[in-house]
């Protein structure tokens, strides 16, 4: 072998890349072939891959690898001629060959030379499998009937390899172009001459297309990483004496390369989890009346600009009571909390750091990473995960991922004179409290502010104070905006001065000098050229957990204010029905307050309803349900608008029609004259006035036929 060819790094590099692809393809083929040994095409492809390997190795002088390929080719030859029948044992040996080739080429990549190790055991296994055939016929020395060696021609015609670094650079340039585009379009709208408008619009379109196309170059089908899973499932199932079938759909779903890489380990972990803890042994499955073979389903699809990945098994499922017990034992949950949690919420606890159902603290699974790491890894790339499980029937993990990391939708908020961007994926909802409300509704536990969001405590942090530019935090009496953010292990509220638009932003990393600032995830440049910082929700969440932050910077709050806010009692929403009837409902039952035009009210059969957030929301006309005819206000209510209290339960929304929202009261609730009528809990003295308290459970289940009929009748009349 001439020296110069051996030294030709380019040739070797090409060989390595090609054999990596070929081996990946061969692995897929082997898995397919094991299922359908009759498929001649698959076997031929495997044969060609090995034949190509043998030829190239001979050419480059990698004699050991050539020898291995030669032996393997021999075995495959027997298989093609039907002298040997396919069996799982043969597939196992061929997979070992594959692993050896990968290990060996890996060594060549690192050192440029062949490994000294010879393939003793693999070669012996190959020999052993061929023995019966060898005695019958000599080994065929035939070249397979293909013109182009496999691997070379398959995808080379319509694709080229490009270095990722170059794509990154293009992506950056496109990002900058977007910024300039934003500037130009702003200029052309505000102060530019008329003639600029046309070109600006064209620039807009071209930039968007260019950006989208460049983004697409970085997209890869998720199948690229899934292709490792059939093997993983096969090996792990064999090791655990289980029978498992892996079904995959949506392999073509494309994602940014960096995200694909980041999601590989979490997915692998989840699948291992399904195999180890999800799917039962065949005996157990049969005893439970299930098919002997368990199934793991992997699905991916695009939905609303995100990628959804679902991993489900039909195994034993997660029993909420076991999770509950384990969480209590580990002190991750207070008993009082545990009682109020739904099964769904209990199961989500598996993502808490330190959670494990095994009795010993050391993890039995021994891989050293738990579900919390899976969640953290996904959080880091702006993804989210949840789990649903039906005991005895299986478990489903749902993962949501952004398409790309470089350009993300973000919510812009302001604090002081500064603007900040928050990745939209972390934003759950926005709450606005006007001045008077803010003072009352923000409660304090020592120096930690909290807010009751639909009855659940939401820890708050003040962005201005957190970042150190408004020392005393929010002044009382000021309006307050709370951005409710989802973070690892729960949500928290971020108090900001104002909430602006959402905008697509280009994420730029902060330089090395600022890397250690965990409260920022990066920076971006706005259309007006200003640099704004992107908040790192996880970093902020870290602060929430850390009370030291608050100890260092005590918050001056008027003591009277604190006392009032801490006063015990129930929060009630007071509203008016009829002329002066005062009514109230527990605030924890209130999801939202809305106002609807009378004209928006439609009928769903005999029930009045409105369209709300894309769904049909039935309305409960409280006046008609609870008041006698002579107590009601004339129809329609004064302004033609209806005040509606939205109450959500079991995934459904109900709208309670009331005449007027009065106030929110916090007072000890002493019910008197209980249960006079269905739909009414009783009466109490609230703000020194007699107030009736509605029974929402009763109301929802009340037979509303007559009241609805009257209400709809009056509505028709008023429209005519």
């Amino acid at each position: 072998m001439p020296e110069e060819i051996l030294n030709n790094a380019d040739l070797i590099q090409e060989f390595l890349t090609e054999s990596r692809d070929n081996m990946d393809q061969m692995e897929r083929d082997l898995m397919a072939w094991e299922k359908q040994p009759a498929s001649r095409d698959t076997l031929d492809r495997i044969f060609r891959a090995i034949h190509t390997l043998k030829g190239t190795c001979g050419f480059l002088g990698f004699t050991k690898l050539e020898g291995l390929a030669h032996q393997t080719e021999g075995l495959l030859g027997h298989l093609r001629e039907g002298q040997i029948k396919a069996s799982p044992a043969i597939v196992t040996v061929l997979l070992h060959v594959l692993d050896s080739v990968r290990r060996h080429t890996g060594h060549i990549e690192r050192t440029g030379k062949e490994e000294s190790e010879s393939f003793g055991s693999v070669l012996a296994a190959l020999q052993a499998l061929q023995e019966p055939a060898l005695t019958e016929t000599p080994m065929p020395d035939e070249i397979p009937d293909t013109e182009a060696p496999a691997g070379f021609g398959t995808s080379a015609e319509n694709s080229i390899r490009v270095k990722v670094g170059l794509l990154d650079r293009l992506m950056n340039l496109a990002g900058e172009l977007v910024l300039v585009r934003n500037q130009i379009s702003q200029l052309s709208q505000n102060e530019g001459p008329q003639m600029l408008a046309g070109p600006a619009q064209k620039l807009n379109r071209i930039t968007s297309e260019l950006q989208a196309s460049i983004m697409k170059t970085r997209l890869q089908p998720i199948g690229n990483i899934w292709s490792k899973f059939p093997r993983l499932v096969r090996d792990a199932a064999m090791a655990g004496d289980k029978k498992i079938r892996l079904e995959m759909s949506g392999q073509q779903t494309e994602l940014d390369k960096s995200i694909i890489e980041a999601v590989k380990d979490p997915l692998t972990h989840l699948i291992r989890n399904c195999i180890d803890h999800g799917i039962e042994t065949p005996e157990r499955r049969i005893a439970a009346g299930k098919p002997e073979e368990g199934a793991i389903c992997l699905r991916a699809c695009h939905e609303a600009g995100l990628v959804l990945i679902e991993i489900s098994d039909d195994g034993g499922g997660i029993r909420p009571e076991i999770i509950r017990e384990a969480a209590l034992r580990r002190g991750l949950l207070a008993p009082s909390q545990a009682d109020t949690m739904t099964n769904y919420d209990l199961i989500q606890l598996i993502f808490l750091p330190g959670f494990s159902t095994s009795r010993e603290v050391t993890r039995l699974s021994g891989r050293g990473i738990g579900m919390d790491v899976v969640k953290t890894n996904l959080d880091r790339i702006g993804g989210a995960i949840e789990v649903a499980s039906a005991p005895g029937q299986g478990t489903t993990f749902k993962i949501k991922l952004p398409l790309t990391l470089a350009i993300i939708p973000a919510l812009l908020v302001g604090s002081g004179d500064e603007r900040f961007a928050i990745p939209q994926a972390s934003v759950r909802e926005l709450v606005r409290l006007d001045g008077a409300d803010a003072a009352r509704k923000i409660e304090w536990i020592e120096d930690s502010p909290v807010y009751r969001l639909r009855g659940q405590l939401l820890p708050l942090i003040d962005l201005g104070r957190e970042l150190g530019f408004s020392a005393q935090g929010h002044e009382m009496g000021q309006d307050i905006n709370i951005v409710v953010l989802d973070a690892h292990g729960g949500s928290f509220g971020l108090i900001v001065d104002h909430v602006q638009d959402t905008e697509e932003i280009v994420v730029k990393p902060l330089g090395r000098l600022l890397k250690s600032l965990h409260v920022f995830a990066g920076a971006t440049i706005m259309g007006d050229g200003h640099v704004i910082l992107i908040l790192n929700v996880l970093g902020l969440a870290q602060r929430v957990k850390n009370n030291e932050a608050n100890e260092k910077r005590p918050v001056p709050v008027p003591t009277a204010m604190k006392e009032e806010a801490r006063a015990p009692g129930e929060e009630l929403l007071v509203f008016q029905l009829g002329d002066d009837g005062r009514w109230a409902i527990a605030l924890s039952e209130v999801t939202r307050l809305e106002e609807f035009d009378a004209a928006k009210i439609e009928r769903e059969g005999a029930v009045p309803a409105v369209q709300y957030q894309g769904k049909i929301m039935p309305l409960l006309p409280l006046s008609h349900l609870l008041l006698a005819e002579n107590e009601r206000l004339a129809f329609p209510a004064s302004s033609g608008k209806f005040q509606v209290i939205v109450h959500a339960r079991d995934g459904l929304c109900y709208g309670l029609l009331v005449d007027h929202i009065v106030d929110i009261a916090r007072e000890p609730l002493v019910l008197q004259r209980k249960g006079l009528r269905p739909g009414i809990l009783g009466s109490a003295i609230i703000q020194n006035r007699i107030t009736k308290i509605v029974d929402i459970d009763g109301l929802v289940n009340l037979d509303a036929g007559r009241a609805n009929g009257q209400f709809l009748g009056e509505m028709m009349e008023s429209l005519n």
Binding site: G511, L517, V531, L533
Partner: protein, 154 residues
Amino acid sequence: MKRQLCTFTVGNLLFGVDVLSVQEVLRPQPMTRVPRAPSLIRGLINLRGQILTAVDLRERLGLPAAPPEISGMNVVVQLPGGLAGLLVDQVGEVLDLSAEQFEANPVTLRSTIREVISGVYKLKDRLLLLLDIQAAVTIPAAVSAPIHDPLFSN
């Protein structure tokens, strides 16, 4: 051995950095403050779509803040971790210097200055301090307190 240095002043000190490490010089730019950052970081600058971290050399050298009549210039330098802008008082000319003019740091220098210069060139009527850019943008232990705040290191 000849060497070309781009020179600038900070307070009454004259500094030089290798011209090859300077990408460009900018007039005063609008800056975005970075809350909780160490005090020598003045803010972020939009440099044609790239983000530049502005380092205040006065702060780094322990000098008082610049008087209002000095608006300050940004000397943009490339660093392994990205671009940085050195905030200086005034930018001077590019000088050709020879090895004979060079001498190691005098031992009597204040430590904050000694940390960031790697030698002195003797000009005819003045001394030119050779700035070690990497050291200049490294946050010294004394001012780095906010960064090593235990709350921030997970």
